[in-house]
Amino acid sequence: MQVPGNPVPRFARPPFAAAVVAMLASVVGIANAVEFDEKMKAPQAKDAAELRSRAHAFSERAALARVAGTAAVVRDRNLSAARFDVEWQLHRSIDARQSIGDLSGEGIVDRGDGTYGVDLAAYPQWNDPSEQLAGLLPALSPATLAAELSRRGMSAADIGRLREYLAAHDVKAATAAAALPVSVSFSRVVRKYDKIRRPVPDSLVFAYIYQRERAATDARRVWAEGVVDALQPDSVRVLESYFDEMKSTAVWAPSDSRGGIDGLLANLRLPDFEQQATAEAKGVTP
């Protein structure tokens, strides 16, 4: 599925929101602020067999990509998008309480209560290194992280570069800035439906969530790419080695889609949603 590089706004944007979105985009370096596209649907596997086939195909592709190393995987935007699409379809099926079949061969183990567990060390195809970098590096204590990396052979210069990158690039701000234009433009679509007194179809809401999350995921991948670009290849391998020593597991469980969608639409219908959402996104900017 393609993300339009130069989206054309479908509705007039109030000057305040436009200015802040532009400011956010410039602050965090978002090259292409993507808005909601009504024509772009979220992918959906038709049955468990198709889901299994897609999960297997992605596992093989990810295994081949990992041979080139973490940095190459982080830079591979297409691989990241493919992982996102497969995980999206898995989660949608889990949310809908539909059978995803036996995916234990791919490391997705049925826990018998409607949830699924994944050992991310044993099945690294589900462990996106960009997510690992973006999720863990800002959370770790800087001084202790520096000591751990130094002990494993990272140079003082690269530890300094990593520290500078983390101080100057806020992954939360980058993620919020990518999600904001999708949310603001979708709120206008919701108002359009409300104006003609038609319910907003769930499929359209899922298309919105899909596009918003895909934009946010790519923002995080770009952030992680900045990390590996800032470091020498040896230092990236040190980071990789440090993360390999950790044990990571995941649980995928069904969401309450009905309640979630109702709450989400209620927020989008707030009379000053654009201003508040923009303020929220701006609030995480350093």
Binding site: R83, F84, E87, W88, H91, D95, T115, L120, D128, E131, A134, G135, L136, P138, A139, L140, S141, T144, E148, V171, K172, T175, A176, A179, L180, S183, I209, R212, E213, A216, T217, R220, E245, M246, K247, S248, T249, A250, V251, W252, A253, P254, S255, D256, G259, G260, I261, G263, L264, N267, L270, P271, D272, F273, Q276, A277, A279, E280, G283, V284
Partner: protein, 180 residues
């Protein structure tokens, strides 16, 4: 101030408060736990430990947290425990939380009673951890880790072994003389 304006200001205030605990969004709704390397620091009572809980929902409200208990198979030693929980909500859906347990990780925690062990002793220890997330409506209690009955609940937990040793008398390292 009319009602809509008042509600808007209230919502904005809630956002500011909630964003203090929010963290980067994950790709998909899930609960992900990363247990950091668990090891004895040098020859002393300190253990480097901790885990990170990354929780995510595509919707607007989320509570996540976890607990840990490090304990060793020795009657002279007591467990070290801790817990943490955070909540997040906001208008921009796709809430995520990164909860480090304990607050700063990796953390060096001194194991109570380790200094009472005799020289040359090696004890088997375990790091027991839990992680939990609830999306949807919630209230957070003040008396410890209190989760609401929400929707989309995810939880997991496990145990990771490690060892602690007190160097023996025969160790030729000059520094060992400093260890009681």
């Amino acid at each position: 101030m009319n009602r809509i304006e008042w509600l808007s200001r209230l919502a904005a205030l809630a956002l500011v408060v909630s964003l203090g605990g929010s963290a980067p969004a994950r790709a998909m709704p899930d609960l992900r736990t990363t247990v950091l390397p668990i090891y004895q620091v040098g020859n002393g009572a300190g253990v480097s430990l901790g885990h990170v809980v990354n929780a995510y929902t595509v919707y607007n409200r989320l509570t996540a947290g976890g607990t840990y208990s490090a304990s060793c198979a020795s009657p002279q030693m007591l467990p070290a425990t801790g817990q943490r929980v955070l909540s997040s909500d906001g208008l921009l859906g796709g809430r995520s939380l990164t909860v480090t347990i304990p607050e700063w990780v990796p953390a060096t925690i001194n194991m109570p009673g380790f200094d009472s062990l005799t020289r040359g002793t090696t004890v088997s220890c375990t790091y027991n951890w839990t992680a939990r997330a609830v999306e949807g409506g919630y209230t957070v209690g003040s008396g410890g880790i209190t989760f609401p009955t929400g929707s989309g609940e995810r939880s997991e937990g496990s145990t990771q072994p490690f060892q602690m040793s007190v160097p023996g008398d025969t160790n030729t390292d000059d520094w060992q003389g400093c260890i009681p």
